[in-house]
Amino acid sequence: MTDLDTLVMQFQNKNQVAFKKLYDMYSKSIHGVVYNIVKDTAIADELMQDVFIKAWHKADTFSSKKGRFFTWILNIARNAAIDKTRSKAFKQSRQNLNADYFVDIIAGYDNLDDSTDAIGIKKFVTQLGEKCKAVIELLYFKGFTQKETSEELQMPIGTVKTRNRNCIQQLRDMVL
């Protein structure tokens, strides 16, 4: 059993200290995912907070047999963000929704910090092939299924899986 598994179990027993550790590990990622969808910092802040509050209150519904904790909360976040973009109020306030991909957002940050991760990721996104950008965008940020991604990118379904594998491998080489 990994340390992460222990933390998740403690979280499910309503241990706030464990939950804070999980929050510190994943909140920025969840924020990134919802921000990439709503493209508004204030709304992203609110959504990310709602996601973690919801996770806390629904802790007992999580089961490691169904997937990773990060994956579970990532799903909650994507659903919440997409629901938000479908709301009438959101549509009215955001008529011309920015069509940038996550790569454009990352590339737009002017050296936010000079940590290894930031440098590595920036290098990664600038060198990333167009197909990789699209596959990662759809599978991780938008929550498309393999089939939906294959249709969207007009790419054979098996190719989606292997190409994604290669793209993630490049990322691992850069940041791990």
Partner: protein, 264 residues
């Protein structure tokens, strides 16, 4: 099962993305329990994706921003000092108010009683005065009764005369001490400017001797008047005379007259 081929298939990347079926998820979970190298692969994929997605976030948001909203499962703050009614204080206040009210009532009662006492004392003095008066009256009456009952007394009825037939009087004459007691109850009050005058008479010849005027007739209560009489009277008369009296009786104003009967 060829672990390496399984990893190369890219299914673990989709597993982390959360886009597999429930069955696939369950299958991978089981494999992860058996093959540490698979789990290691998943951890690395996850770590890379976590870093990539975090890089999109414009800023971090502190955990404290949500801490307050996790309330439901937080330890409930128990009020160590539950608000309980301070009976001792309330009882004290109630007692004070009752005492104050009681004192006021008592004070009021006292004033009332003092006033009543004052009234009773006044009544008492009045009653004592009345008793004194009654005693005095009683003594006077007894005295009078004794006088009338005296064996030496001569009773002389005075009859109404002429126009004054309805008038009457009585004289009780005590020869031993030369005193007459005129009971003039049967005479009217003297009009203004007039006064009753009492006369002692001898009959042969008819000689009136004034015994004086009764100046306090109208105000006297029992209308019995004590008059000195040293004369050898044979009759008594009462006339109405001008104020101050007259030297001789005015016969037209003779109201009553009575002759002394033979000496017993």
């Amino acid at each position: 099962m060829d672990i390496k081929t399984y990893i190369e298939s890219g299914i673990l990347e989709l597993y982390v993305a959360g886009r597999l079926s429930e069955n696939e998820n369950q299958e991978i979970y089981n494999l992860l329990q058996q093959h540490p190298e698979l789990l290691q692969e998943v951890l690395e994929i996850e770590a890379a994706v976590v870093k990539l997605t975090a890089a999109v976030s414009p800023h971090a948001v502190n955990f404290n921003s949500i801490k307050g909203k996790l309330g439901a499962s937080e330890t409930k703050v128990v009020d160590l000092k539950p608000k309980q009614t301070n009976w001792i204080s309330y009882t004290g206040w109630a007692a004070s108010i009752l005492l104050a009210a009681g004192l006021l009532w008592t004070l009021n009662q006292n004033t009332d009683l003092e006033q009543q006492l004052q009234t009773v004392e006044t009544d008492n003095i009045y009653l004592e005065t009345q008793i004194e008066d009654a005693k005095t009256d009683l003594a006077a009456t007894k005295n009078l009764l004794n006088v009338i009952r005296d064996k030496d007394i001569i009773a002389v009825p005075l009859g109404g005369q002429g126009d004054y037939a309805s008038s009457f009087a009585k004289v009780y004459w005590n020869k031993a001490d030369n005193t007459i007691y005129l009971d003039a109850e049967g005479l009217p009050n003297a009009p203004d400017g007039k006064v009753w005058q009492v006369w002692s008479l001898t009959l042969n010849p008819l000689t009136p001797t004034s015994l004086g005027t009764i100046d306090d007739f109208n105000t006297d209560e029992n209308k019995i008047f004590t008059i000195a009489n040293a004369n050898e009277s044979q009759a008594f008369g009462v006339t109405l005379e001008p104020e101050g009296g007259s030297a001789t009786p005015t016969m037209e104003q003779l109201y009553t007259l009575g002759v002394v009967s033979a000496t017993p």
